[in-house]
């Protein structure tokens, strides 16, 4: 075998060598930017949902599981999460002229307190929806445990946020539930959901 030994090296890089290395670095930077864009596009991808009977049109996160089988208008859950599944729920409730958001929040609290373990209201504040419509937000926590005791899982502290607004004789209650560990991380998803919600 003949060995091709490079005995004398050129003093510097040739133009082609220099540009070869520049192109790799430029490509690397572009590729990371593309990666970021893909990430953002995937994480913010939504699927439209409309319910003409309730007069609601929404965009829920892609890959979340849609459920319309209960008393609410619809509910979507992130089934890819371990532990408590992050949930967004929209419910509509008929109200009288004299009903206020405060009445509805008190009713929700009275209904939930016996049903949910360690249920506790954290705060109630005015909330402005994207179209400048006034609403009321109530933050609360409770402890969720697995329905099946044989699964041997620890109970999880869940943080919730109800946003209530009254319009045309009906109250629209939008609920966000997430494990306290992922609440701050998932809250922007709920805020985007509210931004796109039409009713």
């Amino acid at each position: 075998m003949t060995i091709i030994e490079v005995a004398s090296r050129p003093s510097g890089l040739t133009a082609r060598q220099r540009w070869s290395h520049y192109f790799v670095l430029i490509y690397g930077m572009l590729a990371v930017i593309i990666g970021f864009n893909l990430r953002t596009a995937t994480l913010t991808a939504t699927i439209p949902y409309s319910n003409s009977a309730a007069g609601i049109r929404a965009y829920y996160p892609q890959n979340w599981l849609l459920d319309t089988s209960d008393s609410y208008v619809f509910r979507v859950r992130d089934m890819s999460q371990t532990g408590f599944k992050t949930t967004i729920e929209v419910a509509v409730q008929p109200v009288t002229i004299n009903t206020t958001a405060r009445n509805l929040l008190d009713t929700l609290t009275l209904n939930r307190a016996p049903a949910l373990s360690a249920y506790d209201v954290l705060s109630t504040n005015p909330y402005t929806l994207p179209n400048d419509r006034q609403a009321t937000a109530m933050a609360y926590v409770f402890v969720a445990s697995e329905a099946n005791p044989f699964l041997e899982s620890l109970p999880q502290v869940v943080e919730g946020l109800d946003v209530i607004t009254i319009q045309s004789g009906q109250a629209i209650i939008v609920t966000f539930l997430s494990s306290v560990d992922t609440y701050e991380e998932n809250l922007p998803i709920f805020e985007r959901f509210l931004n796109d919600l039409e009713f």
């Binding site: 003949t2 082609r16 490509y27 590729a31 990371v32 890959n63």
Partner: protein, 298 residues
Amino acid sequence: MTNYRLLTPPDEIEEIYPYRRVWWSVTIESALLFGVAAALYMAFQLVGLTLPRALIQPLNILLALLPALLWLIFSVWRERAAVEPRRRLITVALITALAANALALPFVENILQPERWLSLAGAANRIVGYTFTVGIIQEVLKYIVVRYLAWDDEYRVRLDSVAYTLASAVGYATVLNLSFVLNNLVTPDVAVIQIVNYVSLNYIGSLVAAYGLAEVRFDNPNPFLLTSMIALAALLNGAVIPLRSGLVNAGFSLEGSTPGVLFGLVLSATMLFAVGFVVSFLFSAAERRAREAAAREV
């Protein structure tokens, strides 16, 4: 007819190859690693071997360090026997490991978080997603380390490129291995399969990048060749990750199903062999072209 025999035979002119033979080292290291993986898989899955819980983590750490140990024995240690040893192999591996631990892994796991948004995506999206996240970060980081530590001064023959990029691959893979075994308490047969996967992925990418680096150093290729090789290395990483997940992960069935661990091992071995074969062919062709060019000049 009388046969005469010389009392002192004539000196045979033996051509001494002054460098460590890289392909031999890679073959031995890979074969031993795959052999250990297969043996552990059979011991745990077929024979039913069980270990005390206290022994699992130390054994997993040993397995995580196994590729680096094999590389130290069959590559670095054997350099001492070569006439012209490669001096910066350990430096390249160490700097790559430090950079991977300090920059690449935190960036991928905490900022890009591909598992969060790619786990439910379609096959094409996963390939593209992993290529532009895990693949590109891994390959560009290894390229930068080799480029600035070895490419200028330490490249004397084409195969130096393979030696140094594989040193970089060992450094990166060792950090991935340690991160996996320290964050997941799994049995050694599961750990070793993941370790083999990390090592083969890094070797595949580095072999492809090695060809680009060698061509730029010793030939006068198109300026986009090196970029194409790095892009191809990232794409191979991006393609193998979801492909392997699809093969290994257990499918959903009411009759029950088991993970196809062996498929993952076979895929890693096949990809490493195929890429190694193609790259060695490309290196041989490049060396032959260089020899022919040198002969023409003479």
